[in-house]
């Protein structure tokens, strides 16, 4: 061997040494796949509710030394793909994560996206916990996919609790029976409107205005003016983020004189409060939280670590779901997919929203309707909970 070859060999070894070390370090981490929309229609919601959660989780788990598994403490490493708000891309991203040999894949963001990848998770053999997914197909889906867990409730439960809140006000003689209903002509809005119509009818409400509008409508003034002209006692919008903001602004400008105002998605967003301030006092919407020291602490940590304010609907449920998964990983002691599924199906977990139970592959307790009261979005209705704040009447838009 001449001198040049020796130098080459030594050089190559020296160069490759760091890589070998990196490879070993990667074995020592638990690889977790994250998929969600960084861009596209769903990105604005995911930027508040979806991505910061995993960042916070990674930060907290690694800060305490990693996941405590049988083989020792393992730090977690997130591998993230953008699905650009397209279900086709979500499927590709999940398949890519499987090819990356990740140990676990976190929930996808959004109903359609979670459901679109259910067959893929099933085929690849990963347990699938869904989040930010609300559907009435829970029982059909969980029967078909034994490793699927749905952690945000059914569409009907959201519609029926919203109507239930109004019905109680009506039965107590606080509001009349005329309700104006509008909805965004898109997935969740249509489902809620369809579920809501029958329940309004059964609860003795007269629907005096019932129209839908396309997603992305620039000016909702005709909708708000017509709804106002119908002279309702309550206003219900099965709405999405941009129109939730638009309708609330118009209600304020038109001084929509209703005693109960409900708008579905995004009332629970921090941006909603930031934009309208005290005008949204007593506005009702999807979500809600039960105030506790633990929950307050969660909001503070969320803000401190991610720089983003958590929302008042899915965020605490996301965090609780991650607490549940952490406890499962550590109890099982390995990233064994079948054992993880079995553990979720046979245990309950202590979380910031109280005991979390998905033994029947669906969440048993969650909040469905919240109301802005003194600057906090308090839960006023829910499934499986009993202790709620009393509902207040809307008294203007000042």
């Amino acid at each position: 061997m001449d001198r040049r070859s020796v130098i080459k060999l030594v050089g190559a070894t020296a160069l490759s040494a760091p890589f070998a070390r990196v490879a070993r370090a990667q074995d020592a981490t638990v690889k977790i796949g994250v998929v969600g929309p960084r861009t596209g229609l769903m990105a604005s919601g995911a930027a508040v509710t979806h991505f910061p959660q995993f960042k916070l989780w990674e930060h907290e788990v690694n800060a305490r030394g990693g996941l405590k598994l049988k083989s020792g403490h393992k730090k977690v490493e997130l591998i993230e793909y953008d699905d650009r708000s397209q279900p086709g891309e979500t499927i590709k991203a999940v398949e890519r994560l499987a090819a990356d040999k990740v140990d676990f894949i976190m929930p996808i963001y959004g109903t359609g996206y979670n459901l679109a990848v259910a067959p893929v998770f099933d085929k690849l053999g990963y347990p699938q916990v869904t989040q930010a997914a609300v559907t009435d197909q829970i029982d059909t889906l969980t029967k078909r996919y034994p490793r699927l867990f749905i952690v945000q409730g059914s569409t009907t439960s959201y519609a029926s609790s919203a109507v239930g809140v109004l019905k109680k006000l009506k039965d107590d003689g606080k509001i009349g029976n005329k309700v104006a209903v509008v909805n965004v002509a898109d997935a969740f809005g249509i489902e809620l409107a369809n579920a809501g119509r029958g329940i309004f009818d059964k609860s003795g409400f007269e629907i005096v205005y019932d129209k839908s509008y396309p997603l992305g409508t620039q000016d909702l003034a005709p909708v708000m003016k017509s709804a106002k002209a119908a002279n309702p006692d309550a206003f219900v919008a099965w709405s999405y983020p941009p129109d939730t903001f638009g309708l609330a602004e118009l209600a304020k400008v038109e001084n929509l004189n209703v005693k109960a105002y409900y708008s579905a998605v995004a009332v629970a967003f921090p941006a909603f409060k930031k934009k309208f301030g005290s005008a949204i006092e007593n506005v009702l919407g999807c979500g809600g939280i039960q105030d506790s020291a633990e929950i307050r602490d969660f909001y503070k940590r969320h803000h401190d670590v991610t720089g983003v304010d958590a929302d008042y609907w899915a965020s605490p449920v996301y965090y609780s779901m991650l607490q549940m998964l952490t406890q499962t990983f550590e109890s099982v002691g390995a990233m064994d997919r079948e054992a993880i599924t079995a553990h979720l199906k046979s245990h309950t977990f202590k979380t910031i929203i109280g005991e979390m139970d998905v033994r029947k592959q669906k969440l048993t307790r969650y909040w469905t309707v919240g109301q802005w009261q003194d600057g906090t979005f308090h839960a006023v209705a829910g499934v499986g909970f009993t202790d709620f704040k009393p509902v207040r009447l809307k008294t203007g838009w000042a």
Binding site: R38, T39, G40, L41, A43, S44, A46, A47, V48, S85, V182, A185, K211, S212, Y213, P214, G216, T217, Q218, D219, L220, A221, P222, V223, K225, S226, P241, P242, F245, G246, E249, L250, K252, V253, E254, N255, A266, F269, A271, K274, K275, F276, G277, V308
Partner: protein, 288 residues
């Protein structure tokens, strides 16, 4: 009466969304698919100035408009001009521009995401009722309408009653002939393109008073602007203004009298009908 006023207010919004693209596509002949992103940049600028410095979006225009002008001028010289020089035919230039500006739109989205994050951005400004004939309308929409009117009238007068405007129109009619009468075509086109960008950005700043924005909303505005520009006809900003108002009035009438769910359908039906009857657009010149 209600319907007419709401329709006019909406039409004013649409006019300002489309005016920038009209200058870029109709006059400078550059199909700019990133027009919506430029508008969103303007909106983000106004939102940022409002939330960080409580600066009124109307004052923000003073900063946003020149900034957008400079950036778009640079985009034209760095990115578009090489394409113009390379293109052998107008058709090839259009294809190249569509591809280049499509890429540009993704870049803009990425930069906005990195700078502002992906959340919804909104603030409240002049969200007060303003009475016209005893009916309340949002003051911010009325203000945006007035600004849009001033801008449209100003642009029209400038294009039709000044020498610079004449040069611009000459380039839009025939770039090679304009070159023969010693018009600096590249500079004039750059001016039209930069001006278009500045108008789009000012539209964004005005719309941010009442619409919610996130980094990915641009494509919605590009689509709307494209429909209006093509409906109105290339090269004449009056066409776009008329088209914008027709669209605003139609959508409002349909939403009030028929069903709000049909506004989008009505807009596109109108679009198809106009294209069938006048393929060159309302005030467009028949292509030779």
């Amino acid at each position: 009466m209600d319907v007419i006023i709401i329709g006019l207010l909406l039409g004013g919004n649409y006019a300002i969304m489309a005016m920038g693209l009209q200058l870029q596509y109709g006059v400078a002949r550059i199909m700019n698919l990133a027009s919506g992103e430029v508008l969103v940049c303007g909106a983000f600028g106004a939102i940022w100035l409002f939330t960080a410095y409580s600066l009124s979006p109307l004052l923000a225009l003073i900063g946003v408009v020149p900034a957008a002008f400079v950036v778009n001028w640079a985009i034209y010289w760095l990115m578009i001009l090489p394409l113009v020089k390379r293109a052998k035919t107008q058709g090839q230039l259009e294809v190249d521009c569509i591809l280049a500006t499509f890429g540009l739109s993704f870049m803009a989205i990425g930069i906005l995401l990195a700078m502002f994050g992906g959340e919804f951005l909104a603030y409240s400004y002049l969200a007060r009722p303003f009475e016209i004939l005893g009916q309340p309308y949002s003051l911010n929409r009325v203000v945006a309408f007035l600004c849009s009117t001033v801008l449209c009238v100003g642009l029209y007068l400038w294009l039709h009653h000044t020498r610079a405007g004449l040069t611009l129109r000459a380039v839009s009619v025939n770039p090679s002939a304009a070159g023969l009468v010693s018009i600096n075509v590249a500079r004039t086109s750059a001016l039209a393109f930069a001006l278009g960008g500045a108008v789009s950005a000012s539209g964004g700043a005005l719309l941010s008073m009442f619409l919610t924005f996130d980094a990915s909303t641009g494509v919605m505005f590009t689509m709307k602007a494209l429909v209006i520009v093509i409906m109105g006809g290339l090269g004449d900003i009056r066409g776009s203004i008329i088209a914008a108002f027709i669209l605003g009035l139609t959508e409002t009438a349909v939403a009030t009298y028929i069903d709000p769910g049909l506004t989008l359908a009505a807009a596109y039906v109108l679009f198809i009908v106009i294209l069938l009857v006048r393929p060159e657009g309302l005030l467009g010149r028949p292509s030779s």
